[in-house]
Amino acid sequence: MTATAVPVTAQQTAEQKWAGRYREYDLVKEFVIALLVVAVLTVGLAAIFSSPDEKQIDISRWSSAAPNDFVATAATELDGTSGTATYGAPYTHDRSAAQKIGPFAPQNWLGVTHPIDSATDFVIRSEERRVGDAALATALVQWRSATPAQQLGWASAYDAALQKAPDNDPAKVAAGSYGPVPVMLSALLRVAQSGGLDGQLLSQGHFFATDYTKPLLFIADGAYLEDQARAQHLGGDQWGMMNETGNYPGQAWLWLYTFWYQVKPFSTSGNADALVWGLMMLLTLGFILVPFIPGIRSIPRWIPVHRLIWRDYYRHRAAAR
């Protein structure tokens, strides 16, 4: 095609260099004004609305505000029935626990990269460092001298009894063969309430520590954290991922991701996370490749919003004819 030939296709038209009229357009001035406008807007919004800062829930606060929930959670860590203990990769080696997309379980592909033994990491190790508690020391000796089957038997029996007790109150648990478990969990509660467990779970033997995986998973295994979140409308079935504490805008741009969790089959599927993430990855790829997807790329031509955007140009051209 020569420079003066009339372009035939829409693609050729869009590739052609503009030969019509131009207008003055000061990009630098536009940028400076935009920067000032955004800066003023930001300062105004920050001054008027501030930002939320809901205090964190540490283990001390959790165990003091909801001691029964704390002990019940610790019991599930000890008998291996907690959310973390039964999670699968990347925390535990139970491959059957992984979520699936059809026949695939990508959760297992990279294996266990953050190994967690919930009984040892959340309960036993913290208690072994405790000194000056004779009852606990005796209980730990009894625990260590027992076989794994006996340990599991005690922990499971106590967990079951605790769930049947009124308000899951350890003081109201029916008598039974629980071995040293009640003493161990009672001691753990005291350590937690004194604030000693937060640091122990975080440090895991290191002086410097920035990995909160263990304390966070332990807290999340209980009901207290979720109760606080649901009260703030942050639950997964409350469009929580795009909400924020208080009356602040959250990550509104996650609306589509959050949407899928509200509708079937995702809302009732045990593989919801994998299915939603799989779908969103597919949709994101489609979004990036819009220019190459027949049909989608033609929508702007079919629904003529562009007549509004370029109305001055179209009006001018119609008048010139």
């Binding site: 503009w18 001054a47 999670y87 996370d273 990855m281 190459f292 562009h306 140009y313």
Partner: protein, 213 residues
């Protein structure tokens, strides 16, 4: 007089290529085709401006560290600036994105402009998300313990651990802003290189040098 020889050094080759691809009047033009006359065009530069405010407010927060804003009135104000500039940044970008969609702005060998823009949007979502994870408050605890399930379910959590505060802080203040910043630069260069997409159903007369004007 003979034409100057083509440069043989890497520096000369890069310089010639840059000048050829982005002559000054194309890199910083002071005029635009007459059709560039709509408020929708403002949202691109508003997005860029908001990005700079996000960087600046985040930079101030970085000086004193991630806990500062919990104990200092000034720190809390800068956190508020950071939050609201992010909200504005995302709002402007979404409007900009929809505008470009309805313009079918990928026409005329501009697909890479769309792709870099969409990557910028996706990268910004990741950057904002990691920001929520490093607030060191209840939000961070709840969001990280919820988000881990999605990331773990597709295997990403094995290497991208949202409950590891140190890792998320590095992603939020170094890696992701660097990537988003670079993608923005490439996006803007693409816009300057290809120019602003002409209207759909543009009058062919405007594309013929002898008949336009």
């Amino acid at each position: 007089m003979t034409a100057p020889a083509a440069p043989r050094s890497w520096t000369g080759i890069v310089r010639d290529r840059a000048v050829r691809s982005f002559p000054p009047e194309q890199l910083l033009p002071d005029k635009q085709p007459i059709y560039v006359a709509s408020w929708i065009y403002v949202f691109g530069v508003l997005t860029l401006a908001a990005f700079l405010v996000v960087l600046a407010s985040g930079g101030v927060l970085a000086i004193e560290g991630p806990q500062w804003w919990h104990t200092s009135t000034a720190g809390h104000f800068f956190n508020s600036l950071h939050l609201w500039s992010v909200e504005l940044f995302m709002a402007f970008m979404v409007i900009h994105l929809w505008g470009k969609f309805w313009m079918a702005a990928w026409r005329g060998r501009r697909a890479m402009t769309w792709i870099t823009g969409s990557l910028c949007f996706v990268g910004s979502i990741g950057t904002a998300f990691t920001g929520y994870l490093v607030q060191t408050n209840f939000d961070s605890q709840w969001i990280s313990t919820q988000a881990k399930d999605g990331l773990n379910s597709v295997g990403v959590g094995a290497v991208f651990n949202v409950t590891n505060f140190g890792q998320m802080l590095m992603w939020h203040i170094v890696l992701l802003p660097l990537v988003v910043g670079l993608v923005i630069v490439v996006h803007i260069l693409q816009v300057r290189r290809r120019g602003v997409v002409p209207p759909i159903d543009v009058d062919p007369v405007d594309l013929i040098p002898e008949q336009g004007q």
